[in-house]
């Protein structure tokens, strides 16, 4: 077992535990803070997969921006800052059955499809490689995505604005 596998095990265990706390904790702010652990773990997984630029984008966009937005959402909806039993609805058991079913289905399919196939992460892909791909092969999707981001920005302002 190489050092990469040890790192993977530690990161994966921390991520799964933190993700479970995100969906079960009784405190809204704690859920957001556990989400930081999951998102940082995902960035660590990207580093293990030698995807350097995606890892940085993950840290900047998710931990830097999206999480702050979620905390603003918590603040603006005046969520209870102390533990509350009001956060879950009463279909928790049905939800757990569905989630376990999805997990079982996926794991069965994946073991069937990939078995013990192995790979070695290539040498790190630099931001330059990714940029070359974005601006040559994927240049039209890139433009579409920037239009979508602009539309979402304007849409969010229009939806949340008070008409008075």
């Amino acid at each position: 077992m190489g050092p990469q596998n040890v790192a993977f095990g530690i990161i994966a265990a921390a991520m799964v535990l933190a993700a479970l706390r995100v969906v079960t904790t009784r405190n809204v702010v704690h859920a957001a803070l556990y989400l930081v652990v999951v998102l940082a773990g995902v960035a660590g997984i990207y580093v293990l997969l030698a995807a350097e630029f995606v890892a940085w984008a993950q840290v900047l966009v998710y931990i830097g921006a999206i999480l702050v937005l979620l905390l603003f959402g918590i603040m603006l909806t005046r969520a209870p800052l102390r533990p509350s039993t009001e956060l879950d609805n009463d279909q928790r058991w049905a939800a757990a059955v569905v989630a376990l079913g999805v997990l079982g289905l996926f794991v069965g399919l994946l073991v069937d499809a990939f078995g013990d196939e192995q790979f070695e992460p290539e040498t790190a892909t630099s931001a330059g490689d990714v940029g070359e791909w974005i601006f040559s092969v994927f240049v039209i999707p890139f433009e579409v995505v920037s239009m979508l981001l602009l539309a979402a920005l304007i849409g969010a302002v229009v939806i949340a604005r008070r008409d008075d």
Binding site: L35, Y46, A65, R78, A95, V102, L148
Partner: protein, 99 residues
């Protein structure tokens, strides 16, 4: 490294996200669970990109990150509107369309 160790980790994160979306009542917590699911998809994309040595998977992951940012922006605007109209961020209070 096994391909499956990444794929099964992503499957676990995805199912946890499914549970969160179904079981949570507070709208911001539902959005957080959606983020968990999007991250699971991204792990898959980057793992396949690394396994078949093709950068396009990473480009797709970047697109998904962008879409997630747009989704959270619009989603929070909708949550704020629900809070303003219902005086509560709980999604099971939103049943105006139920016959």
């Amino acid at each position: 490294m096994y391909v499956n160790q990444y794929l099964i980790l992503a499957a676990a994160l995805f199912s946890i996200g499914v549970y969160g979306v179904l079981a949570r009542r507070h709208a911001v917590l539902v959005l957080m669970s959606v983020e968990l699911m999007l991250n699971a998809v991204n792990i898959n994309l980057v793992a396949f990109s690394s396994a078949i040595q093709d950068v396009s998977g990473q480009v797709f992951a970047l697109f998904v990150i962008t879409i997630a940012a747009a989704e959270v922006g619009v989603g929070l605007a909708i949550v704020l509107l629900i809070y303003r109209n219902m005086a509560s961020p709980n999604l099971d209070r939103v049943h105006e369309m139920k016959g």
